[in-house]
Symmetry: C2
Subunit: 766 residues, 2 copies
């Protein structure tokens, strides 16, 4: 048996310990943020506290200090309530869905062995006996529920801290941009660390508990654990798709009536949809993104575990080597913690120009540290050489540093994707400026150039993913792909922190506007927000890049679990799967785009109704009914997510059952290679349009000034592009991650069923 330097005891302590450190760090950040007090009435500190927050730095437009604070407090409460009401409603739907799907998982998997409680010969070695089919069905269902609950909890927590931090960021912005930045960043870190740590902790504990039953049947154990990935990913469907529809329905609905019809500015408190719009940032970009990345983390870990359970780690029962994927994530938490200190303590932001570099520095530092950390982990946790299972071929001899290279390739591919995304979506570079320039000749050229930019922005990321895949596969087959995905997600806490930072700053800007804070404050929150836009685009790049690697790893795990040795595209079944799979992202995007349109229309009608029937809103005498808008947006978005959700959830089941495992393999490959492209191009196009508009509005260069100011023809053209881009970058694009990952993990979980009973239509035909 190949020896590892590290012992099992160390692993059993180290993983939960790093999770606890992550959670403690998150709590500490929360505590620091909570020192900024909002509102006088409810706070025991009264109007003053140690941080002298309420020093009015200059005259407010909206009245005196107390009135501003009061306004901030009431706005924050409204947003927080709105977000909570959305999530509670979403969780109701989710609970129904989860119950139903738990039953389906149990029935489908149980039926494979006729719900037998007898031990059966193992698939990988028929001389041994493996766990009963019924047990697999039960444990997979339990893992599914646990994954779903953990993801739900993390999303809820993220939303809570975000709605807690937005007002505090706005208040701090009155003092200085640096202090506001730190509040927003710390709040993002709460989300990032608590999610990564609790996800890993629950998974690790689940494995330990399941092991009590499974004993030495490691293949069965880790196959049951795949349910965890499916659970996490199912919640992501609700978060990303439902939340994505919500956020854009509210945004577009608010803009169409407010900006276009009533000619009032963005974030104007007279707009009935303004709270819903701000809620949208939290439920879509924070809870949705969190659930998405949690899903990726859970899925890539599950994929790596399933593959290694049939490689030499599993066959030789090397607990330390088996835990390698978990150790990567554990080290990631520590690395990200150190990285975060660079932003919060080692450097101080003095002016707005330093925000974006500070955030980008986070990415570089965490990537460099992680590369070193993974090197150490690989050295101590992996045997010096070992066998890795290759589907349909002889096993591969791999060395520990081969696997390290796989993880590193994922990490650095992620960084490269991040930088390319920034190049194509930030208005400091020529691509966005060219798009802004195209606004001179009208909205049509803006759209054409923006679309061309999105298409072009796909090239380098796909080459980066392809290179990482080639390298990882060559060194460690599908296991290499899975750990490359984990590598890209290794800096998850940092990624999430800077990602959550964006919507928090965006909300802070909204609150500053609504509370009538002065121009200087608004400028600071705008600068925070602009940097957040870019990091949001980078985050989306990471999300889709890791989704591609994760899906491929899941695909590999599916193929091996379904007992397929070759996925041959010159066979009719497989090719048909491939071309139909490549079509699915289009079908899905059509649905999500349409959903945004329909939900936005429901919002438009409500906003119009309030303006028309409630006198005094426009004059500011009457407060509009924000809650009703939140409710409308909630209902419409959750109703509208049913068709795309059904497409994702039902396709693998229908295809696997009717056409069998080969067609499904083709379908997954097709959806993956096609979906990646649309997802990247949609999110970058949208980001570029957004920043082209901001470029014209800010007017920082002569070129930008020649296109502006606000209200010029070029600016109007830019606004049209921005509106088109909104659903692309915040709904249909990111939702595609879910499409490709969820179909893959679902296929993996149901693989034994499809292998046993699938392809009934083709069997009937032939």
């Amino acid at each position: 048996m190949a020896e590892t330097i590290l012992g099992a005891t160390f692993v059993t302590i180290f993983i939960p310990a790093s999770c606890l450190i992550g959670i403690l760090f998150a709590l500490l950040q929360w505590y620091v943020v909570s020192l900024v007090k909002v509102g006088g009435g409810s706070s025991s500190n009264g109007n003053k506290n140690g941080h002298s927050d309420y020093l009015l730095d200059s005259s407010e437009e909206g009245g005196d200090e107390a009135s501003v604070i009061e306004k901030v407090k009431s706005i924050q409460e409204a947003i927080s309530e709105g977000a909570e009401s959305f999530l509670v409603t979403e969780y109701k739907y989710l609970a129904i869905f989860m119950s139903l799907f738990s039953v389906i998982i149990f029935l489908f998997l149980g039926s494979v062995g006729g719900f037998s409680t007898d031990l059966v010969p193992c698939t990988h070695d028929s001389a041994e006996l493996c766990s009963a089919p019924l047990a697999n069905a039960i444990f997979t269902t339990i893992a599914f529920i646990l994954g779903a609950l953990t993801s739900t909890f993390s999303g809820y927590l993220g939303m809570k801290i975000a709605t807690y931090a937005n007002a505090r960021t706005a208040l701090e912005a009155r003092k200085s941009v640096g202090q506001a930045f730190i509040v927003a960043f710390r709040s993002g870190a709460v989300m990032g660390f608590s999610l990564a740590a609790s996800g890993l902790l629950v998974l690790f504990i689940t494995i330990l508990l399941f092991k009590i039953y499974y004993g030495n049947d490691w293949v069965g154990l880790y196959e049951a654990i795949t349910g965890y990935g499916l659970g996490g990913s199912s919640v992501a469907l609700f978060g990303r798709v439902g939340g994505g529809i919500y956020t854009k329905a509210a945004d577009v609905g608010a803009d169409l009536v407010g900006k276009v019809e009533r000619n009032i500015p963005e974030d104007d408190p007279r707009n009935p949809a303004v709270i819903a719009d701000n809620v949208g940032d939290n439920v879509g970009d924070i809870a949705g993104m969190g659930a998405d990345l949690f899903g990726s983390f859970a899925e890539s870990t599950c994929a790596a575990l399933v593959i290694s359970s049939i490689s030499s780690f599993g066959q030789e029962r090397s607990f330390v080597a088996m835990s390698y994927p978990l150790l990567i994530s554990a080290v990631g938490i520590i690395v990200c913690l150190i990285t975060a200190l660079f932003a919060t303590d080692l450097f101080v932001i003095k002016n707005v120009d330093q925000i974006e570099p500070a955030l980008k520095r986070q990415l570089v530092i965490s990537t460099v540290l992680m590369t070193l950390g993974v090197f150490a982990v690989s050295y101590v946790a992996l045997p010096s050489t070992f066998l890795i299972n290759v589907i349909g071929k002889e096993s591969l001899h791999a060395k520990w540093w081969h696997v390290w290279l796989c993880v590193a390739s994922g990490l650095w591919a992620g960084l490269l994707i991040g930088y390319v995304t920034e190049y194509f979506t930030s208005n400091t570079y020529s691509p966005v400026r060219e798009v802004a320039d195209a606004c001179k000749t009208g909205a049509a050229t803006n759209i054409i150039f923006g679309m061309a930019l999105g298409y072009k922005s796909v090239i380098v990321p796909v080459f980066a993913i392809a290179a990482s895949i080639y390298l990882s596969f060559t060194f460690a087959a599908m296991y290499g792909i899975a750990v490359a995905a984990l590598g890209m997600l290794g800096t998850l806490s940092t990624g999430l922190a800077i990602d959550a930072y964006g919507p928090i700053s965006d909300n802070a800007g909204g609150i500053a506007e609504m509370a009538g804070m002065n121009h200087a404050v608004r400028e600071r929150t705008d600068a925070l927000d602009a940097a957040g836009n870019t990091t949001a685009a980078i985050g989306k790049g990471f999300a889709i890049g890791s989704a591609a690697l994760v899906s491929l790893a899941l695909f590999g795990a599916y193929v091996s679990r379904a007992g397929i040795s070759i996925v041959n595209v010159i066979e009719a079944q497989t090719f048909v799967g491939l071309i139909v799979g490549a079509m699915l992202p289009y079908w899905f995007s059509a649905m999500t785009m349409k959903s945004v349109g329909t939900a936005a229309l429901a919002m438009v009608e409500e906003v119009r109704r309030q303006f028309n029937t409630m006198d005094g809103i426009m004059e500011g005498r009457v407060k509009p009914d924000y809650k009703r808008c939140v409710a409308i947006s909630t209902d419409a978005s959750l109703r509208e997510m049913i068709p795309p959700g059904a497409l994702v959830m039902l396709t693998p089941i229908i295809v696997g059952t009717l056409f069998g495992v080969n067609t499904l393999a083709g379908l997954l490959a097709g959806a993956l290679v096609s979906g990646v492209q649309i997802a990247i191009s949609a999110s970058n196009t949208g980001g570029a349009w957004d920043n082209a508009k901001k470029y014209i509005e800010a007017g920082v260069s002569d070129h930008a000034k020649s296109l502006g100011p606000k209200g010029s023809d070029a600016h109007k053209a830019a606004v049209i592009g921005d509106t088109v881009g909104d659903p692309l970058k915040d709904t249909s694009g990111p939702s595609l991650n879910i499409l490709i990952k969820l179909m893959a993990v679902e296929s993996l979980v149901f693989a034994p069923f499809f292998a046993a009973h699938g392809g009934i239509l083709l069997k009937y035909l032939s």
Copy 2:
């Protein structure tokens, strides 16, 4: 040896005979069109002829009869000259490209056997001797040149007849819509029949001549013939991509200055780019579409021939069965001829409502007749049972009617795609009306709904293609796919005729406007044009559908020629090829969209320059310099097609040489499954926006009236959509056909080289 009912002599007579009938029919149509006289001076008939064309039906706005005729004549001459000058310049570039590429083909293929003149053991049976590698290199190069010349000739002819017919259609529109329709339709038929017939004739003669050298080495013979497909497709690159950039650069350039800046209507003779715009319709939509479909025809025939040369037809030297793919096309010519009579002689168009049904009826009639015709051909030309080669597996036993079903599946899938395309792009159905309705809330919602429509329109065509692939592959492996593609192209003459009809009518409308014909005439040409828009969309649907099948057949032929038995996507090389291949259509689209933008900008500058420096243009006193605009558009479009052209031509060579046959196989599959989706969605989105605008302009229903009239906010939003859609539907979308087909046929031709010397980078790395 399996017997066929038909004898070889019959085939040797029937194929050229049907080609000659087709050519004669085309000449007859031309003669009938030529009876309509344009202009007095140059025509010997003077101002009157037997058809009493010059009866002025009502007062012309532009002056008396003679002056209108004179204007028509001079406009027609300008368009004709412009088109000719574009094509001549294009052919110069083409000649250079062809010379270079001939050398490359010769060198690459010659190098496989070290330019040996000795006979070599055959790849399929090493006991036999096959033709010398040098001979293969020479004959492939010759076939390449012949294919290119035939395509060039057909495109030139199509352009000639189109520019000949446009003025005649405008003149006939003064009498009645029915007579105008017949002129346009007959002219389209000249193009359709001459192209299909000459393409088949040259191919057949080439085969007979090559056979003198090759004798019994049928595999070598038909492999050399693949050069014909590559030649045809290379010209299509210039026609589709160069022509596509030209037509949209001229169109967008004319509109941006004319409509937007100077506020003059479309087709206004004061616009210096107006002639270039009309030229564009001819070079892009006629010569380009012709070259594209000629390429598809040549390629699918070559694919079918290569595959059958290694199936039992080839091994048993059954000339009749080998000629089956050619017989399908020969029967197609006869079927389309009968079909055309329904439009020209059996039915008479009395009012505008009958135009679209008449054109659609052509599709249905030709499909039904072709199904019967192919049934007969399959019965008499194929042995009752025979063996078909399956890559990497045992041969398949097929019956004659199995193959018939393959052809029929292609035919009917084509019809279904046509109907779905119509449903999504015609403004008589709800999808386009919904898009028009979205214009109420502005350009942004119009764009979002239009994009969603395009995505949605992909679903059914992909299922149709998938079903046809599954059926064909099950019955006759890759041979089935190739003949399914031929089936879809079986009604090529009819398809091309109604396709060419569109731009001719469009031009006729332009000429009527420029010559100042009265409102009634303009309404008739508008109706002709609107029907043409729909048929153009249907034609594009056919083109992409057949391109998908053709590429798959070529892919199959490539795989077998490259000696690959499995294209396994769970191997790193292949998967990397797949994901990069799926990215190529995005890269290519980004390039073509950007090219249109750059070329349009060159045009805008020239038009502005003329307006600014040449006094009196706006007042109509001075004729603008049309020729200069034509020249600018020509140069810009041909210069701008170099990057996308290079991407298409170089990718297979680079990937095959550096990464080998497996990566290239993955790349082709990826580009195919991804490209089909973008091509369909781009062309349908563009078509829908165009017709949504027309729907608002025409204002035929209460709903349409509520959105209009011209100049309303909704109409302005619709115009923006239309402008965005133009490059999508006329340049980047259709160009993707070329991308996927040309890469596949090029890989097929170079397969022996890649198999022998390819993959040097991977060899070096490992």
